[in-house]
Structures are given as C-alpha cells and as structure tokens.
C-alpha cells in the first residue's frame, strides 16, 4: 500500500535515483532513450513525487497564500470571493496550492501572517486592498517573502500591484451622473486607511470639480465596503433635510446596502435617487434595479497578479512593473438610465456584455 517512491522506480529500472529524478524533471543531460524509458515505467508504476520531500529539499512551500481581511471575512465584500476563485484557477495551472485564511479580528490577521510565514507554509502572498501604513506589506518585506497586491500600493512599499485606474473610474461615474442631470451627488466610501478609498474618493472629487459641481460635505459618508456599511451610511444621507439625488458608492456591496436603505424609506433606487456601485460583481446584474457600476476584469487581474508573483519567486527580482487597468463603465439601471437614454449619452461606445439580457456595456473615451 506504500506509495511508490523514486527509489522504487530506480530499482525497477536498474538506474540511480539521480538519473530517474533528472529524467523526470526534464533535465537536458539525460539521453532521450533513458528519459522515455523512465517516464514510461514511472507512469506504469504510478509514481508521484512526494511533495513534502520535494519541498523540503527545494526549500519551497509550493503554495501561495491569501489572508482575507476582517470585513470580507463575513462575506461582506463579494468582490474578493469572486477574485479568489479566479486566482485559484490560475494558480491551479501552475500546480501551486492556494492557501486561504480569513481573519476575523486585526489581532488574528497578524497571527495568521506570522504563522504562515514563519512556518514557511507559502512562498508568497497576494494582498488585497493595500492600506496606508500597511504592516502586512512591511512585515512581508522584512521577512523577505514575495508579495503582490490587488489594488494600488504605496510607492514606498515597493510592492507591485494590479489595479484598475480607480480615480479615472470614479470620474467616469460622476460624469455619467452629471450628464443625467444630477448636481447633488453623495458619496459612500470606506476607511481612509484603505488606498482604494483614497483613490476613489479623489476621483470622485475630481469628477465633481470637472463637472463644475460643488462638493457638499454633508453628502459624504463612511461605510466599510459591506452591505451593512452601505445601508447605515445611506440612512444618514437620507436623514438629511435635502438628501443627494444620486449616491456614488465605493463598491457594489455598499451600493446594495444603500439601495436597501432607500427602499426601506419607500424610495426607488434609480428613480428617486440614482445609485452607482463599483466592481461589477456577478450579482450586480441581478440587483433591483441592476447596478450601474465599473467592471473589474477579474480574470485578467488574477492572471497578471499570479504572473507577477511568480516573477518575484525568481532569484533575480526583475524590476517591479505594476499594472493599472483602464476602467469600463457598465450602465444598467440603478443610475436612472433606461435604454433610450443610454443611446443619448454622447461619445460613448455601446457594447454587449453578459448576461446579455441585463446589461449594456459602455466604454467611454477619454474626455468624452
């Protein structure tokens, strides 16, 4: 019942383990004939390398880790769940294991990283949503563990990342709302700790100013990237004497929560108050009304990130090139658009996106 080992194969062939090992590993210094012979019998004997031994020898973990931050842990941030699935698929192709852990409190988040790093459970990490003073990134650099980030990281952290151009995306959203006639636009963001908040907030302000509108500080609320956060933030907004006529949310979950708050008050999202999200999670098209949002090309992001991480595993850590992706505005109905209005929007390019029956994709050209 014991698994067949390299030695078994070597014995059966009358070769040394070295040769077998190298033949299987595809080293060039093995005759084609032997290689084939080895491969065949290894296969026949059902040989599979023992991972632990291999890793011990190679001093690698053969795995990549991710630690979900507390908010997402409760299922708050749907984007990360979807992203995670994409990442796991990409990693799969490289025969790397994907170790996922979730933190429910800040303390445990640190513990998890420490445990995973000190025990060499993983070769590197994917860090979601970089923060302003990101101890995770600091820690990993200090420990010399490879890491790449999903979302922009601060230049001084020297952590390569893949991110949408959040600022630009926000400008697209605000312009879109302004074009629909909104002048009273609110914003529900998240903790200033998160760079994603800083960037999207900056984009929001920029958009407001580019459209010649005024920024009303009463219209700005802090959520936490979750439905619940969006709900309560929207409640505050609605309690105002003169609430905004449109609310830009930092992500889709927030928008979903905000829409619920509207409905609770008897208001119709998309009719009485426009709502926009960010991320285009798969649920966005199924919301009521379907969410106008910014699309995150998760597949592409996951592929890029893993590629970059693999790069970092190399001895020669090539210069870090981060990726900033161009945003795509997805116009559905939560912004108050209907199909006819969508055609009216000038300077836009209408595409179709799945699920086709629920969506039209609009990609806006710069300064349209």
């Amino acid at each position: 019942m014991a698994r067949t080992t390299l030695t078994d194969v070597a014995k059966a062939l009358g070769l040394s383990t070295t040769t077998v090992s190298r033949a299987l590993a595809g080293y060039p210094d093995v005759s084609e004939a032997t290689r084939e012979r080895v491969r065949a019998t290894a296969q026949a004997m059902g040989y599979v390398p023992n991972r632990q031994a291999q890793l011990l020898r190679r001093k690698r973990a053969g795995a990549v880790g991710i630690v979900l931050p507390p908010t997402s842990a409760t299922g708050g941030d749907l984007l990360l769940s979807e992203w995670l699935v994409r990442v796991s698929a990409v990693l799969q192709a490289y025969e790397l294991d994907f170790v996922v852990a979730s933190a429910d409190s800040l303390g445990s988040e640190q513990e998890i990283y420490r445990r995973l790093v000190s025990g060499k459970h993983v070769d590197g990490f994917l860090a979601p949503y970089p923060r302003v003073h990101d101890w995770r990134l600091d820690f990993l650099k200090r420990e010399e563990v490879a890491v790449v980030a999903f979302g922009r990281s601060q230049p001084e952290d020297h952590v390569p990342f893949v991110s949408l151009d959040d600022k630009k995306a926000m400008i697209l959203l605000v312009k879109h709302l302004a074009r629909l006639g909104h002048t009273q636009i609110g914003f529900i963001g998240a903790s200033e700790e998160l760079l994603v908040q800083r960037d999207r907030w900056m984009g929001f302000k920029e958009g407001i100013s580019q459209c010649g509108l005024e920024l009303n500080s009463d219209f700005v609320q802090e959520g936490d990237m979750s439905c619940a956060g969006g709900y309560f933030a929207a409640e505050s907004l609605l309690a105002l004497q003169h609430p905004p006529t449109a609310i830009v949310c930092i992500n889709d979950a927030t928008a979903l929560g905000a829409m619920r708050a509207l409905r609770q008050k008897g208001l119709r999202p998309g009719k009485d108050i426009a709502i926009t999200g960010f991320d285009d999670i798969s649920l966005a098209s199924y919301a009521s009304p379907p969410l106008t949002t910014i699309h995150q090309p998760l597949e592409e992001i996951a592929t890029q990130l893993v590629g970059m991480l693999l790069q970092r595993f190399e001895k020669t850590p090539e210069m870090e090139t981060s990726w900033v992706l161009q945003p795509t505005l997805i116009i559905r109905q939560s912004c108050g658009c209907d199909v006819s209005m969508r055609q009216l929007a000038s300077g836009v390019h209408v595409l179709t996106a799945s699920p086709r029956h629920l969506t039209s994709t609009v990609e806006e050209f710069e300064n349209a």
Copy 2:
C-alpha cells in the same frame, strides 16, 4: 539569515536534538527543568519548526482541501463562499492550512482531486453538495483519504456529513406559503444529480401534499443553484398561460435570479408573486424585497465538519455520526408577508436576528 533549526537550539543548549524535539513536543519523559530551559531558549532564538521537514517525517500534509464545484466557481453559489470563510476560521484554530481549488469544468475537477491526493497536498477534504453517484467520494475512499461532506451524502458512501434537514425545511416553506393563501406554487430546483436537489424537491412535494394542494408539473423548473439559472427558469415559469403565484427556489442565488426575471416582466416579487430562497446568505436581507428563506448556521456547520474531519484523521475511525440540523425559517418580505401578517402566523415563535432592522426570525414548531 538562515532560519534557526532544531540543531541550532540543541547546540546552544548543549543538548541533543532528540531532547529538544521531545521537550518542545511536550513528551512526558523530559524533566520539567530541561523542558523550561529548552522552551525559553527556543523562544529566544525564534525557533519555528520547519514545516516541510516535520511533515515529511510525520507523513502528513497539515492541510485540508476543498474543491469548489464548477457552478460555484463563477461566483454562482454565494453560500459556498460564505461557508468557506467560516471553515477557514475554524481550521485556523487547529493550525491546519486550508487549500482551496476551484474547478471550471468537470474534467479539471477530477484532475484537481487527483493532484491533491496523489501528491499528498492535504490530509482530508471537505466535499460540498454530495451527488448521487459521487465519484469524488468514491475516489477518496479508494485512496483512503479522509472526507466529510457539507450536505447529506448517500448512506452507501459512508461519508459522514453535516446538513440541514432539507426536507423539513422545504415543508416549512411550503406550509408558510400555503398559509398565506397560495395554492399555485412553483419550484425551481437544480440537477437531479445533487442530493440537495432530491431532498429539497422531496420536501417540496411533501409540503404540497400535506397542505392538500396539487402538484402542477408545469410549475417545476430546473436551475443550477446560480442567479442565472434562477433567472431563466423563472422566465419559463412566467411564460406559462397561468403562472404560479409563488415560487420556491432551491437556494438564495436562484431566488435572486428569479426575482430579477419577475421585475424584468414588470412584476413585483412579494406582491405579484411570492418568492422564497434557501440558505440565508448575508445578501438575503439586502435583496429587494428581502428574502424569505431558510437559515444555514454556517458557523456551527463549519465547526462540526472540521471536528468530524479531525476525528477521521485518527487511527481509530470512530463510528461516523452525521449531523442533521433543524431548519429555521426566516420570514422577510419576498413571500409577501408584512409585519402585521407575520404576527398572524399561528404556532410560530418570533425572534430577532441580525441585521435586526431587516429581519424577523420565525422558528416553527413541528406541525404547527
């Protein structure tokens, strides 16, 4: 920069690695004095056992795996995402790594299991949604790998599981709808391959019959546990000459999709047609209208499952006791209830559940 090893600690103390190893492992045959000394310096030197070496020696992987089935992979089944997070938290407590992989096609699902098992990447698996002839379970048993299931498994598979009493839960839902006056109740399920479909479907039929209603085969549609599946299935239902006045969905994602289909047709879920879900994913309370559904106590489920899996790691595979949990009906608004109606429901016990502002929990007593 090399990590401190057991030998380092032993040298520093003038002891043998054996003693240090045993002291740290808490063996009884080490004097209390030495143990303390060892512990202290090990700590001081920042010693952390090398995982790969430890595992190689112990012939274990120190990890538990899960392979997400294709449908969930696309973010289709939100329940699994939430469950996964809970599981990871529990595993964390046992210092076990959680390896997650996702399959995008059936072929790759098999490959993944094979890879993870033959390479001994994990010590055991958590299998979601057992199937009728479940090759995953067969394969794992053949390979003598520990496995427990989330959702009922077939008796002949001898795989312990944790599951809600799906049948009973469905009866609760149907009775609830019947009590609200519905006689034309539809059902959107999933593939008959899934036991969860068989059980919930059986519960549905049972409920219909217990309420003295007739089963209309036109009212039965097959989805795929995802929003998209629910959407298309509901479309078919709505295309009928006389559509049902209530639709019971196999899970929340399906319900969300179905509600979208209604809205697309200008119908109001909860008003024109009642909709119910199953799972109570965190988004359920934020749907429009909030979803009436069955709650899954994921925390408890995760804890149980991991406990059972650990049991199976033991030499003595104690008799397998599966867990069937009692369902809790969560009444929100997608069933057409409003607060006043909820009070009218007889034989129910009203509780509060979070988020409090959106929900009332109703636990029904047997045969109420």
